[in-house]
Structure formats: C-alpha cells, structure tokens
C-alpha cells in the first residue's frame, strides 16, 4: 500500500523536476523582468484542459517535508479541467501551517489588471479535520514561486456551522513573508473575510489588481468580498499561477488574464 503510494507520488514529482530543469534555462528572462521598467500585463486565455505551459511547483511553508502535488487533466463537473492534488503526507499533519503548490502559467506576465478563473476544491480524502479545501490564484509570482501574492478560498468554511470559520472563507497571503497565520496574528480580520462558498461546485473568482491594491470577487458579485490596500510585495509584476493549499484536491478551468 505504502509503496504503491510512493510510486504514485514519485512519478509526478519527476515530471515536475523535468519541467523545472527546462525552466532553469529560461533564467535570462527573469533578469529581463527586472531591467525592463515598463512591463505591462499580457492578455491571456487558457481553458486549462491541457497541462501545456504550466510549471507545477511545491512551496514549503512551515512543514518539515515538502508536500507532493499531482497535476493532471481530469473530468470534473462536466468539463475537462486541471486537477491539482496537494498531499502533505502523513508525517506532518500536526503542523500549524502547510505546504502550497502552484501551477505557474509560464508565459504569463501580470502587473495590473484582472484575473478570472473557475475553481473548485475539497479537503483531500483522509486529511485532518483542519483541512478546508484551499484553492486560489497567485499573482506577481517571482523566481518559480519563491515569492508571490495570493488570494485563496477555504471552500468548506463558507457554510460551516461556526461564524468564525465562515469569516475565514477568503484569505490574502504573501509568500514567504506574510503567511495567513502571521497576518491573522498581527491583524485579525484585515486579510480575510466571509463569502458564501459551496465546496463541491465550480466557483468563479475574479481578482482585480492595481498598484498595491487588490480586490477579490466571488461568483459574479458586483462588490468585492475582500480588499487589500497594501500588497506586501509592493508595486511589482510577475507570473500568474493556480494555487492550492495543503491536503487539497483542487480543480481549475477557464483562466483569463487581461
């Protein structure tokens, strides 16, 4: 059983490493980003029915071992979509904060503008009670995920029978410096909010970014459910990525950047 699990994990990891090594050759591009002051957002539409152009990365937060992430195309609720399965593994379930994974859109370049996507997410089967189904979008991603801004949803919080959990349905984070834990400890209620979420259906999210401000809209709402006025990386630019938190089975479809 355990062996089978390891094998299952190893193959996607290998695939990731391959992608990473290819990406390493593109390093001059990241130099370009810094030298070029007039970077503009590049419009892009991806149905996410193929893995082409995605770089899958695991991002260590506080956990001892890196999570493993399986990335593939699968059918979900009537469409072909990107599935990311973030598995934190068995040894670190007691850790307060876990690993994240990104599927970075390699050709994306985003500074200010609007990012939209359909997403869905559930706690991984067998995960601890504190898993919520963490799904979101990272933006202004630098250096293969070493730094980024992200909005994410805690999918099973939206209709929890506990208002405090509901009030943590949406979250802003900036990795690696401003984890949700740090933001909540230092400024509770400032980088998180309530929004209604149905864990097992496609949820439309829209992120509007301008300078050091960002707003999150969910399911076509005219008003943002979460606003951030001090993006922690400042007025920067970088790639866009699909985001999952630990122990989450997440689906992504119809990404647009403009």
């Amino acid at each position: 059983m355990t062996k089978a699990r390891k094998g299952f994990i190893a193959s996607p990891l290998l695939a990731c490493l391959l992608v990473v090594s290819v990406e390493a050759q593109a390093a001059p591009r990241s130099k370009n980003f810094r030298a070029e002051p007039e970077i503009a957002t590049q419009a892009l539409t991806m149905p996410l029915d193929s893995m082409d152009g995605l770089e899958v990365k695991n991002i260590r937060e506080n956990a001892e071992d890196l999570a493993t992430t399986k990335a593939e195309i699968a059918s979900y609720q009537g469409r072909r979509a990107l599935r990311l399965v973030n598995d934190r593994g068995l040894t670190v379930h007691s850790m307060p904060a876990g690993d994240q994974s990104l599927a970075i859109v390699e050709t994306s370049e985003f500074k200010d503008g609007t990012i939209e996507a359909d997403l869905a997410g559930l706690p991984l089967k067998g995960s601890s009670d504190s898993a919520r189904g963490f799904v979101g979008i990272a933006f202004r991603v630098r250096d293969h995920g070493s730094r980024y801004e992200a909005f994410f949803l805690r999918m099973t919080n939206g209709r929890a029978d506990d208002q405090l959990r509901r009030n943590h349905s949406t979250q802003y984070v900036q990795q690696p410096d401003f984890t949700w834990k740090r933001l909540r400890d230092e400024n509770p209620g400032v980088y998180e909010s309530y929004v209604d979420l149905d864990a097992d259906v496609w949820t439309r999210i829209k992120i509007v970014v301008a300078g050091t401000k960002a707003s999150l809209y969910v399911n076509g709402s005219a008003q943002p459910c979460l606003i951030v006025n001090d993006l922690k990386m400042g007025e920067t630019h970088g790639q866009v990525a699909l985001f999952t938190g630990w122990d989450t089975e997440a689906y992504f479809s119809n990404l647009t950047i403009r």
Partner: protein
C-alpha cells in the same frame, strides 16, 4: 435658530413617546413573561403609521438617556417609519432606540423587514448608520436579542470595517464591544451593504440559534448558535443604534 427649533421638536416627540409607553407598560411586562409557551403570532405591518409601536430609548450603563425622534415620513418612494437616534456628547457605549411592536410575541420563526440607515446629520465620524431588528424583548426593552447592520461599513475602503457589517448583540449583558473583545469574529461578519438604500433583512430564529439573511441571499451572512437570553420569547422591535437616521418598512413576523 435652527438648533432651537430642533430641540423643541425633539422634546415634543420624546414626550409623546413617554405617553404611549406609559400606557402600555403594565400590560406588556405581565403578559409576555408569564406565558411560557408563547406562540409566534403571524403579523404584517407596513410601518406607514406609528400605531401599535412603543418607542423606547435604551441607554447602556453609564450613558445619558438617549434623545430620539420617531415619525412616519416619505423615504425613497414610500411612507416609512423613521427613527432618529441622537447620541449625547461624551457617551462611551452609545445608546439604542427600540420601536416595539406592542402586539407581537415571538419565540421561534422568521422576521423580515426592509431597513435603511445613514449616520444622522452631524454625527461623529465613528458612526456607521446602525439599523436592525430586536427580538425576544423582555421587560419593555430591558433585555433583548438583536441583529443589526452597520450600513456604511459594507463598502468601506477598509476590510476590518467591512468585516463588521453585520452584528449580533444581547442587551444589556453582551454588547458588541464585549462580544468582540471576548470572541472577535464570532458575532459579526461581512455582507455587502449600500448605506441609505432599502435593504431587505430576514432573521430566522429557532431555540438558541439565529441566522441573518440580507437582500434575499440564499445563505445567511451571520449565524449565532448561542443566543444569550436562551430559549426566551417576547415582542419584536425595530432597532436603531447611536447617531443614526433609520428607516423601516414592511415588517412581517411568521
């Protein structure tokens, strides 16, 4: 000049309220407490008249008596109950005004109403336009549960303020301040609100739980699982917080 006129107007309306409330006092206090198996009495009030309303100022401990004005006026296309709550100076906790529906007796069920609110003219900057519904009122306003909205918070440019758009409290023991200090984020939440616009609210109460729904949402924006008065019953009231100009229309209780 204007100031004087205003004061006179206030004095008259407040006196009128005392007259009304005096007459109802004994009846209300006896009736609602002695009946342990009260049923919800279904009723609909358009609130285009003051009939059947008992307007009460409720001061939090240490606060001066609340000044208020209650009348029926035209607001955004309809005749509606207006309550203006004028907070005294140097008051810490703020004060509340109830317009108690005298014939109501509510235990479990659904309360719906349309409300609107803005900070009153000349209010302190910290005022939000506090408007809501109180229920299971005991002793003519000495104790009650309430769910209310902070109308200017819904679209504030500050997420913490937005996250305080909806609030539960139980007077006099569990003020918003006590609840927030002891359990931040448990009795308050975000919901989109437009200050001054008619806003539909629905409150569903069962036993010691209550849910608040805003503007026809299918899901509640605020849930309370431990109503502080327990499994009580009592009248329903329109509720306005400090320094607020509040409007109420189309109240239904079922």
């Amino acid at each position: 000049m204007n100031q004087m006129k205003r004061h006179m107007l206030l004095a008259v309306t407040v006196q009128a309220c005392f007259l009304v409330s005096g007459a109802v006092k004994a009846f209300a206090a006896n009736d609602f407490r002695s009946d342990n198996k009260a049923n919800v009495q279904a009723s609909t009030l358009r609130l285009d008249s003051m009939d059947g309303l008992d307007v009460q100022g409720v001061s939090e401990p240490g606060a001066e008596p609340v000044k208020m004005q209650a009348d029926v006026v035209s607001y955004r296309g309809r005749r509606a109950l207006r309550i203006v709550n004028i907070e005294g100076q140097g008051v810490q906790n703020g004060e509340q005004v109830l317009a108690i529906v005298k014939t109501s007796d509510f235990k479990d069920g659904t309360i719906e109403a349309e409300v609107a609110g803005v900070p009153r003219e000349g209010a302190k900057p910290s005022t939000r336009g506090f408007v809501g519904i109180a229920f299971r009122i005991q002793g003519r306003g000495s104790k009650y549960e309430t769910l209310y909205l902070r109308m200017t918070n819904g679209r504030a440019d500050n997420q913490l303020q937005r996250n305080h758009s909806a609030q539960y409290e139980s007077e006099p023991d569990f003020s918003w301040r006590r609840l927030r200090e002891e359990n931040p984020g448990v009795y308050e939440s975000y919901v989109d609100l437009e200050a001054g616009a008619w806003t539909r609210i629905k409150i569903v109460v069962a036993g010691t739980t209550a849910q608040l729904y805003v503007n026809g949402a299918a899901q509640p924006c605020l849930i309370v699982n431990d109503l502080k008065l327990g499994d009580a019953h009592g009248p329903v009231a329109l509720w306005a917080g400090s320094d607020t100009e509040a409007y109420f229309s189309n109240l239904t209780i079922k």
